[in-house]
Symmetry: C2
Subunit: 410 residues, 2 copies
Amino acid sequence: MALVVMKFGGSSVADADKMKHAANKIIAKKKSGDKVVVVVSAPGDTTDDLLEMADKITSNPPAREMDMLLATGEMISISLLAMAIDAVGEKVISLTGPQAGISADADHTRARIKKINPKKIKQYLAKNNIVIVAGFQALNPKGDITTLGRGGSDLTAVALAASLEADFCEIYSDVEGVFTADPRVVKDARKIDYLSYDEMLEMAGSGAQVLQARSVEVAKKFGVVIHSRSSFSQNEGTYITSEEKIGRQKMEALLVSGVTFDKNQVKFTIIDLPDTPGVAAKIFGRLAKIGVNVDMIIQSAAVDKKNDISFTVSKSDMKKTHIELDKIASELKALNVICDEHVAKVSVVGIGMRSNAGVAARMFDILSKKGINIEMISTSEIKISCIVDEADMAKAVEELHKGFKLSKKS
Amino acid sequence: MALVVMKFGGSSVADADKMKHAANKIIAKKKSGDKVVVVVSAPGDTTDDLLEMADKITSNPPAREMDMLLATGEMISISLLAMAIDAVGEKVISLTGPQAGISADADHTRARIKKINPKKIKQYLAKNNIVIVAGFQALNPKGDITTLGRGGSDLTAVALAASLEADFCEIYSDVEGVFTADPRVVKDARKIDYLSYDEMLEMAGSGAQVLQARSVEVAKKFGVVIHSRSSFSQNEGTYITSEEKIGRQKMEALLVSGVTFDKNQVKFTIIDLPDTPGVAAKIFGRLAKIGVNVDMIIQSAAVDKKNDISFTVSKSDMKKTHIELDKIASELKALNVICDEHVAKVSVVGIGMRSNAGVAARMFDILSKKGINIEMISTSEIKISCIVDEADMAKAVEELHKGFKLSKKS
């Protein structure tokens, strides 16, 4: 008998039929002999509807009241899903995040889980209940409801799985799992059977949208096995776990596990900065202060005691970055600031590259043979990313997918 | 400086504009120097929408999950209303029923308030906040959310006013107060300035729909002054308070305070029952057992050791009453059971009749002069009710209103 946490996203509980479908999947799991805890997001467009209601009242709502409002979305899901399960005759109970013992820090709209006291969940499991927990929400030290921000329901599921020492944390969505590349871009992209936490983190950080990096980090920290799979099929999806559990055999066969892309990038270049110590620290310190996350950075070699610095930020930070950079450039007497919105990041990810040299060279070779210019490069132990022209992105992803032989099972 | 509880019903917070309108009324009250606690119902049709969602899932939802679902309606109201008040720059905080310290018994969908711990509300009031509390909901001993049933938000408001020793409990709705008769039936019906708790209870119990009897009972028990008034005007409404506070002068001037009607009545008659002891006890004991509330009862004088019993029940209980009565009649060898759906109850209410004889006689005279047949009569100290043919109801109400001179201020 296993203990399984099943997490259903908003699209899996968007209406009564989908709700009943999810209920059937949950009941089948229970009937197979497992103990089941379910985490669920707000149904379909509910969160957007609530945001729209708030927007009609004020453009600047207090974060605490926003959390009070948004938390209702998951309460609707958990109660309706419990009704659907009860209607089939299974014992079931719904719990809000606070009722489930999930405590967070005081931050509103993006709180961090501090502690889980799973006593109540365990009591209901012991009485043979399916326990349904509202994702995305928690109780803060003041006794207020907080929400966990984007991807918060995944985080709730993984954190509960860790706290309950569950055997699996199944994340259900409308895709079959994690793919070697986005199937909308690469037609013969293949579902990946096993991924290590680090690979998943690199993929999430470089554009793959199946799982949020935050929940993968928590899964890695506590050794929670994530199974990302589809609500609408019986097929196995992608298991995300430690390299040890995957096994060396499966691991070493693959040089590269997947190709990802990210169009949400803007490239800034500051021309003719003085080549003196502390310049880079000043620029990136100032950007950090206004909350801008910098991704890739390149500094050119100095010529005549001047050099250029290029870096990328996400598109949502473009405006404030530009304003701040103009100030910094004038303070440092740099020549000017160039902003390029039409770039994209293309990455290959795989733990195989740790023990295999030449992956970077092969990547550059594949791109250059197709005449794709590489504007910036960054590497980690298991990822290589290149900034290319946005117009070349799809071709780059397809060619890398083909070049690293990801289409066929190896 | 007074402490005021203001309660807004669903129609007063049905959309963003109404929400802002209510916010302005609340802020004006605060700015006049009062401390303000607000109780609010779910916006407009929200509760119906939630019920419909549940109905698409199952026709027989567990009561606990229904309460979890319905409680979201008031959470939407309190958070949006708090946003509207914050947007104008006033300090404000929203609290769910459980957060506000409202405890109830374990019953779901119709829980009774057991205790209020107003510590948190008082803390926020002391810090100069407007405190907004979700009506209709409470925490039960198991830590579950319960709801208080029909009229539950009025009950929350009155109970909070009692617990906080508020100076007034203002109940805002879309009517100006309590009227001498329903203005839709009697055109020159007049708003009543003062009503005693007992009069309001009798009027609520005999068809007036402004306030639920439950909240008036609590107000009477704890001496809470209710002010029933309109959200859409500045006019004073109806004060409901003790006879002492109203003052003898205002009280004795009026013989009858109002005329009410109730179409939700069905008359049953059992013909030719044996005239032996215990027959009535058997009939009404059996009906009580299946949860039927009997209103008026008449037993005819015995003829040939047989008599008839007539009584009224509410229309929603008609079917199960009929089934049970058929069984009882056959057990008791009565002749048969007659059911008449086309009846209505017309009542006159007023504390003035306590010290003035002849009100009943005058009522019967007014009705008989217009050829209206009285089928049953019941009286209390401050109310006289008659069952008439449904077709005569409107005429009866109008004639009584005229006959007791309720149109003009006396």
